[in-house]
Structure formats: C-alpha cells, structure tokens
Symmetry: C2
Subunit: 191 residues, 2 copies
C-alpha cells in the first residue's frame, strides 16, 4: 500500500538529491522538505541507500516506458535505436537528478551513486539487447552476439554524445544517428 507519506518522502528526496546530490542530502533535510518526522522515513525505507535505489528503480521503469514508446513497429532498427536513445537522453536531461548524480560520480565518486548508475547502464544495454534479438529474427540485422553488439552500440552512442565534445564540438541528434548508421550498420569497408 502506497501511502501519502511515502509519496511525499520520495518527492522530497528526489528534490534534495537533485539539488545537493546524494552525499549532500541529509535525512533531516528530506524529513523537513517532506514535512514528516525523520523516523517516519524509516518506516518506509530501511536506509538512505534504499531510498535512492527505490527512486532510481522508479525512474528506470519510466525510462523503459519512454524508450518503448519512442519505438515504432515496422521502422528500421537504427531509426528506432536512435529515437529511443534520444528520448531517454532528453528525459535524463530534463530530470535534473540524473545530471546531478552523474556529476557526483565524476567529482566525488560516491560508491552508492556509482552502483545505481551502473545498474541503469546495464538495464539500458539489456533493453537494446532485446531489440537486437528481435531485429536479427526479423532479418534486419545479420547474425551477431546480441550482448556484445548492444554493449558496443550503447558505448558508441555515449562516446559520441559525451566524449567527443570534450575534444571537439558537440554533435547534434541527427549527426549522431547518421554516424551510428554509417559505422555500425553499413560499415566503412569499400564494397
């Protein structure tokens, strides 16, 4: 049973995590924002970490829904791949929380946050993997290991979105879609 209080606590925690990060958030702070006693938090969540986990789990489910919605049955695989990853990226950008947590990993390396983001990455890879399996069955992609392929596609996307801009100028959505299609699907070997 999801009580009114539990919802308030989750909202408060999300707000505080977004504003001050995981480490920077105290349980007193969360209690204050949620307007509940600190002890109340512990009737719904065993630990602070569990509170973060539950928030991220919820966000993960939401993200999976967004990715699924971005996919149009019948459209080519790469198109759907890009649409989905773009939708998720946009979602993450809108939710300040994700940005703040990524930052926290980079500059403080908070272990709990590293783990939680790693989980999201794994889930993303698994989602891509399932789509790749379908694409292979449908004959859209040729036989290949879906796990490695998903991993490499995801990494390439991240490399293009995050790492390339550190060296040169950042790329926009369409450029990235084009690049992934060019390298991954068509290949650059001369026929």
């Amino acid at each position: 049973m999801i009580t009114d209080k539990k919802v308030k606590i989750i909202h408060a925690a999300m707000k505080s995590f977004s504003l001050f990060g995981y480490k920077g958030t105290t349980m007193d702070q969360v209690a204050k924002i949620a307007k509940v006693g600190k002890g109340t938090i512990y009737t719904y969540f065993t630990t602070k970490e569990e509170l973060l986990n539950e928030i991220i789990r919820k966000l993960g489910i939401e993200m999976r829904k967004i990715a699924t919605d971005a996919v149009t049955t019948g459209h080519p695989f790469v198109e759907n791949f890009n649409a989905a990853l773009f939708a998720v990226t946009k979602f993450q950008e809108e939710h300040e929380l994700m940005i703040k947590l990524s930052q926290e990993v980079k500059e403080m390396g908070t272990p709990e946050v590293i783990e939680v983001l790693q989980d999201i990455e794994n889930e993303t890879c698994e989602f891509i993997e399932s789509k790749i399996k379908l694409a292979i069955e449908r004959g859209e992609l040729r036989e290949c290991d879906p796990k490695i392929t998903a991993f490499l596609m995801f990494k390439m996307y991240v490399n293009l979105v995050n790492d390339w801009k550190d060296r040169y100028e950042s790329l926009d959505k369409d450029q990235i879609a084009e690049l992934i299609n060019m390298y991954f699907i068509e290949g650059i070997g001369s026929e």
Copy 2:
C-alpha cells in the same frame, strides 16, 4: 647534447615512477637511484612534471615506431589496425610504467598523470587518423570523416579490451580483431 647524467636521471625516474607511481616518487628518490645530487636533476629538467613529460614523450615516439613497424604495406586496413594496436598494447603491458600510471589515474586521479595519458591517447588517435586517410585514398575504406572514425575505432578497441571484461569475461586478441572487422568494416545490417 644528451649527457650521461641526463640519461641516468631518466632511467632512474622511469624505474621509480614504475615502482611507486608519479605521486609516490620523490625527487630525492630519483636522485638517489640515479646516483646524482638532487640539484643536478634541475639542470636538465625544470620540474618534476617536465621530467614525466619528457619520459612519456620518449615513450610516445617509441610506441609510434612500434605501431609503424607492425603495419605491413599491402595488408588490409583492419589487419594492420589490429596488429598495430595489439603491438602497442603489448608494449604498454611490458612497460610496467604505463600500467602503474593508468592505475594511478584510476585510484588517485593525479592531474599531471591524467594529462600525460590523455596526450598519448590523442596521439594514438592522430596516428590512426593518418592511416585512415591513406586507406580512403587507396579506396580501401569509403569516404568518411577520418577524425571521428579514428576516435570511434580507438574507443571501440578500448571498450572491448578494458570495459567488456568488467561485465563478462575478457576477450583475446583474435576475438577483438574479428569483432572490430565485423562491426566496423562490414557492418551488421543485412545486405
């Protein structure tokens, strides 16, 4: 003019950096190993950082030579790509210094070391870029941006060698060569 002393200092520094890392190495230590007075180091190198830079610069030149030697004119591009990166990886594994410095970046994040390894990465990308340009001219690869292509190939190699093994079991030389060829050159789109 390269004096005997300068060589001794470089050797001593390499040894100490390999053994204790950059932070863990003191100039007194280097002087002791090199059997010179500490002041002498400063007649050849302005700072400790400059000493590291010069060592890495030397190593970079050596690595470029090794990569160049691994390339066989006339062989297909991917084959040479893998041979070169494999030779360089092996070289780095043999030279304890590189391993130690990579470790130091991961666990302490020493800024000077981050920078110096970043430089090597950039140089590697530039080297690959030059080879890609040639391959395009020769008609072995079709038209593509050599800079982005080099960046992505390098990243894919690193992803496969370093990151994949964190999730699953590590891949051997030939598996990686095969994967790069499959994904990058041939593409996985059905014909």
